[in-house]
């Protein structure tokens, strides 16, 4: 089913049959997805189709009902406590809303994982934070501000800096460009490509911004009604032959995807 390499040793993350329901509301109904090591996979799909829920299940922030989640070939569904904390060190995440800690200064936000997770000294964490700020194109003066003092685009950049500061092996981007103007969106896309390349990380992103997909994706997967209905290299996106994918990438109101009429 997945167009990505199927040899499990080449896959960083493998999801199979992942199911998640909130009460009677079945969101994920058997997600099968393999993310190749060192590549960038982008998941597309309409709003409310469970893209964020999928990421949160992989991170263990939500408990999946059934299925399997393998990271580096190890099953992670049942991990708890210290084992889970250890696994978390492999991940970095850029949240949809930024999720910066608003009681902490910008540099403390960026250095948070270093100070508390990796026991780096405050002074050193501050230096690394300022370095990361420059990586995402912000001035060092920003370090002393609080998140509420920044614009949306700047907050996204700071979140990106926080996500990459601990040098994770896997980075998740949840709608990195939503709510930004097209130019700022492109800046963020380029930063994502650059940072992922620099770290040699595996990236799993969520978006419904097609410009973003074409810029950051190696592979694309489309989620619809709780399943992955198409997955392949980004080059095949325009000749997928899948009517759902075609409707989505061209943003047409009429087609096989009719969910929106229900609301």
């Amino acid at each position: 089913m997945s167009g990505a390499a199927n040899d499990s040793s080449d896959n960083k993350i493998v999801l199979s049959g992942l199911c998640k329901a909130f009460g009677k509301n079945e969101i994920l109904r058997g997600i099968d997805l393999a993310v190749p090591r060192g590549k960038s996979m982008v998941v597309i799909g309409g709003s409310g189709t469970g893209k964020s829920v999928t990421l949160k299940c992989i991170l263990g922030l939500l408990e999946a009902d059934s299925g399997s989640i393998q990271v580096d070939g190890h099953e992670t569904m049942a991990l708890k406590g210290a084992d889970r904390d250890e696994l978390m060190k492999k991940f970095g995440m850029l949240f949809q809303g930024g999720a910066l800690f608003d009681s902490l200064k910008i540099w403390e936000n960026i250095g948070f994982g270093l100070i508390h997770g990796q026991k780096v000294s405050k002074k050193q964490a501050r230096e690394i934070a300022i370095e990361k700020l420059q990586d995402v194109g912000l001035k060092p003066e920003v370090a002393e501000l609080f998140p509420a003092e920044l614009s949306g685009g700047m907050q996204k950049r700071v979140s990106l800096a926080r996500a990459i500061a601990t040098k994770p092996e896997i980075i998740f981007f949840d709608e990195p460009t939503t709510g930004l103007d097209p130019i700022m969106a492109d800046v963020i896309n380029e930063l994502i490509v650059k940072c992922v390349k620099q770290l040699g990380a595996t990236a799993l992103s969520i978006t419904h911004d097609m410009a973003s997909v074409r810029k950051i994706a190696d592979y694309v997967a489309m989620i619809h009604e709780g399943r992955i209905i198409w997955c392949g290299p980004v080059a095949d996106l325009d000749r997928s032959g899948n009517p759902y994918v075609d409707q989505f990438i061209h943003g047409r109101a009429d087609g096989p995807i009719t969910n929106h009429t229900r609301f």
């Binding site: 263990g60 978390m88 910066l100 800690f101 608003d102 994982g113 508390h116 997770g117 601990t166």
Partner: protein
């Protein structure tokens, strides 16, 4: 179509009129309510045990504890102080009106100091802090939940129980006894001011009457109560914030629930502890 609907509704009416069904429905409502109530109690107990466990196991976040001690302790001083002052003053005034009828004015000092230390300072301080601190804890943690900051903590390998909840519970439990001790002093002072300057008592005899009647256990029982109330306020704030529903409405409801449930628990706990200490 219409006939069908009519038949349906008449069937429904017949079913609910059937006495057996009525009784069963009654059981269902009561049982369902009871079950969800027990579930809430269970969840809360589990949450309290978890919060306590994390207070005593490393890693600790001393800077977070210090920050909460200032927030919860220091900034509550004016509220608790004012409450104690005016309560002490009104106590002296009220007991004077009553006691002059029995020529028992000399008992006023005792009434003031015992009511303040045993009951009024801990309970009123607990309730005031529930309103001030419980609400702000619930709002802050609820907002962090809603804006995914708690998820972000976990992705950065920091346990939110250790970083957010334990410091608040520690600070709440430690600071409320200190606030109450200060409240005790200010409350007695309030009674003193009214007795001396308004009711014309002699300062020396008022103070000696106060000391005579006061026992170690009167003050200590109040401080134990205060520690329990501080724990209740901070845990209820954390609990409602942590499980806040999504959206601004969710945070609003969490705040209200934190204050209401903490206040009620304080009153219940006060009765239980009084029974334990003085019987």
């Amino acid at each position: 179509m219409q006939a069908q609907a009519q038949q349906d509704s008449s069937q429904k009416a017949a079913r609910s009129l059937n006495p057996v069904n009525a009784v069963l429905n009654c059981f269902r409502y009561v049982g369902g309510g009871l079950l969800s109530f027990m579930e809430a109690i269970g969840n809360l107990t589990f949450f309290m045990a978890r919060a306590l466990g994390h207070c005593f196991s490393p890693p600790f976040f001393p800077s977070q504890v210090a920050r909460q001690i200032i927030d919860i302790g220091y900034y509550s001083l004016p509220v608790v102080g004012m409450t104690a002052l005016f309560t002490g003053m009104v106590l002296a005034l009220q007991s004077y009106t009553g006691f002059t009828r029995f020529n028992a004015e000399s008992a006023i000092a005792g009434v003031v100091v015992l009511s303040i230390t045993r009951e009024l300072a801990p309970v009123l301080a607990g309730l005031m802090v529930a309103g001030r601190v419980g609400a702000s804890i619930a709002a802050e943690i609820g907002t962090m939940r809603v804006t995914e900051q708690i998820d972000a903590l976990r992705t950065l390998s920091v346990n939110p129980f250790k970083y957010l909840i334990a410091p608040r519970v520690i600070a709440g439990t430690l600071m409320l006894p200190i606030l109450v001790l200060i409240g005790d002093i200010i409350g007695v002072m309030g009674g003193y001011i009214v007795s001396i300057y308004r009711l014309g008592f002699s300062p020396a005899s008022y103070l000696s009457q106060t000391w005579e009647i006061l026992e170690y256990m009167d003050v200590m029982s109040g401080l134990y109560k205060a520690a329990a109330f501080g724990f209740i306020v901070s845990v209820m704030g954390c609990y409602h914030g942590f499980y806040s529903q999504r959206g601004a409405q969710g945070v609003g409801a969490a705040t209200t629930n934190a204050v209401v449930s903490a206040s009620i628990l304080i009153l219940i706990c006060n009765y239980v502890l009084t029974q334990v200490f003085f019987s």
